[in-house]
Every structure is written in C-alpha cells, then in structure tokens.
C-alpha cells in the first residue's frame, strides 16, 4: 500500500492511478498472465538477439552470412520487443508507485537505454557495411558490439528478476 503523504513523483502517481495500472494490480489473473508473456518475450527477443550476436562472433550458423541471419531473425526480435514492451510496461505501471525507486529497476532501465544506444550506434556505423564483411569474420567493431549486446541483455534479464525481491 502507498502511504498517504509519501512523496511519489507526480508522473508516477498518474501512471499508478491510471485505469490500466489499477486493473492489472487488482485483477487476480492479469498480473501473472502479463508475467507469463514477459517470460515468453525473453525467448523471442533475447533468444533471437543472442543468435545474431553469436553469428557475428562466428560461433553459430557460420554457413549463413551475418547479414542473412540478422535480416531473417529481425522480425522475431521485433515481435519479442513488442511483447516485452507491452507486458513490461503494464507490469511496471501496476507496481510503479511501489517500485519506482527500486535500485534494480533503475539499473535495468539504464541498461535498456544502453542496449538501445548500442543498437542505434551499431546500425548507424559498423552494420552499414555488413554485406561486404569477409566470410572469415566480422570486423572487430562488430564483434565488440555483439559481445556488449550479449552482456547487456543478460544483465537486463538478471536485474529484471531481482526487482521482485527488493
């Protein structure tokens, strides 16, 4: 319960008291259902991202080019992202008044921002030349971005799990 007089930032208060957040919080079934979707979204989004990263690193699917693997799995990643964003956003809204100052939530949001930045920078720079990457291996900058991506997404999953405990 949120205590009267507790200083909640006004925009958190608006989110927390929205009809959607209130419904999710008060429904017996919606909250765990959204959690289930959030778990399934992990395999769609993080699973597909991991396969693309591991291809760039030359670990799996070496027979296919990195360009083909990236292009083929991008729709899976997008579906996963939409599932994660909608389920995660609703779960956050429902609990926002209680967890907005949760340290793991804040670190997770920071990591998500960082992961997004990594994607944007990677696509604006190294990725432009993906069609001409040599068969033997991706350029060093692409491999660095892939390692960063694997580490950051794993950290997003881990910090996400810890939110519930603190």
């Amino acid at each position: 319960m949120i205590q009267a007089g507790e200083a909640i930032p006004p925009f958190i208060s608006v989110i927390y008291n929205s009809p959607l957040a209130t419904h999710v919080r008060e429904s017996e079934i919606t909250f765990p259902l959204l959690q289930t979707f959030h778990v399934l979204g992990i395999l769609l989004m993080v699973g597909s991202i991991a396969i693309v990263d591991l291809r760039i690193l030359g670990v799996v699917l070496k027979e296919r080019t990195a360009a083909e693997v990236g292009k083929s799995l991008l729709p899976v990643t997008w579906v996963g992202f939409i599932v994660m964003f909608l389920s995660g956003g609703s779960l956050f809204a429902a609990q926002s008044g209680k967890i907005y100052d949760n340290i793991f939530l804040q670190v997770k949001l920071g990591l998500l921002l960082f992961a997004a930045l990594n994607v944007v920078i990677f696509h604006a720079t190294t990725y432009r030349s993906i069609a001409s990457w040599p068969v033997e291996g991706a350029p060093r900058s692409a491999k660095a971005a892939a390692v960063l991506s694997l580490v950051v997404w794993a950290a997003v999953v881990v910090t996400g799990r810890y939110i519930a405990y603190y």
């Binding site: 765990p32 959690q35 289930t36 778990v39 399934l40 992990i42 395999l43 769609l44 993080v46 699973g47 597909s48 991991a50 396969i51 591991l54 799996v60 699917l61 070496k62 027979e63 296919r64 083909e68 083929s72 799995l73 729709p75 899976v76 794993a154 999953v157 881990v158 799990r161 810890y162 519930a164 405990y165």
Partner: protein, 164 residues
C-alpha cells in the same frame, strides 16, 4: 520431511535434495536463489531461441532459402547448452525447497510437458534430414509446429509453478 507413509525411492531422493549443502544454502539466501532463477531465464533465452528458430525454419518462416536440416544442426549445440543450463538451474531451484514442488500440482505436468517437448524437438532432426521427400516435409512441419506449442506450454506452466 516425508509426506506419504511408504515413500518411494524417487520421493526420498527428490526430497533429500533439500538436505544437500547447496539446497540449504539456496533456501537461506534470497540473493543466491534469485541468481539461479536468473540463470534459469538466461537458459530459457538460449534454449527457447534455438528451438523456436529451428522450428520456424522448418515451417519456412525464417531462413527460407536455407536447408532446414543444416540450420537445425547448426543450432543444435545452442539448444543443448540452453537445455543443460535450464536443467541444472532447475534442479538447484528445486533443492531450495523440494517439498514445495513435490506438493505443487503443476510441477508434475511441467515435467511431463518438458519430456514431450524434448522428444518432439529431438524427433525432428532425423526426419528433417529427408527434406527432399514430401512426406518427410509434411511430418517435419507438423512436429515443428507441435514443438513450438509444447515449449510454450512448458514455459507457461513453469511460470505458474512459481505462482501457486
């Protein structure tokens, strides 16, 4: 700690997980338990990602120009690594409180669904190899579709095991 009058060897073994050093440690440490849960989720990303992409390739949704048998073979190590991580972390999670899972009505169904999922997924490999035979193509697609549904079932029941 035993709950039936004549406990089976399996029940004894299952419940004795809680008396192991690691079981007692995880039962007493929330942070460590959450770390193992996180590992279970990361295993899910690998296993689920590899299984889904394999099945979607067989269904000709992704990697349409590739030979599905080669994609399946290429992703098989990832699938095995993911499955191993999930099984090891899963056993560790159970060891933190085996009685809770023994009594959980969804735990048995989850293990059964897992068995079906593994069988379906592994059945796919020898069949998809005969991709030039139309009968084999059709059978591969049925198994791939079933495999996706069963894996989703495992994940969904898995989430609810922790909720009830």
């Amino acid at each position: 700690m035993l709950i039936t009058e004549t406990p089976s060897v399996f029940e004894n073994l299952f419940l004795s997980l809680g008396d192991t050093g690691v079981g007692l440690f995880l039962a007493g440490s929330t942070a460590s338990f959450a770390a193992v849960e996180s590992l279970h989720l990361l295993g899910l990303a690998l296993l689920g990602g590899a299984a889904l992409v394999t099945d979607l390739t067989v269904l000709r949704v992704v990697f349409r120009r590739a030979d599905p048998a080669r994609i399946a073979a290429a992703l098989f190590p990832l699938l095995l690594i993911g499955l191993s991580i999930m099984v090891v972390s899963g056993v560790l999670l159970v060891s933190a409180g085996p009685l809770k899972y023994w009594l959980n009505p969804l735990f048995g169904p989850k293990l059964l669904a897992l068995l079906f999922a593994v069988v379906a997924q592994f059945l796919l490999y020898p069949i998809v190899l005969k991709w030039n035979v139309q009968k084999s193509v059709n059978l591969s697609k049925v198994i791939a579709a079933a495999s996706i549904l069963i894996w989703i079932t495992v994940a969904v029941i898995g989430r609810w095991v922790g909720l009830i």
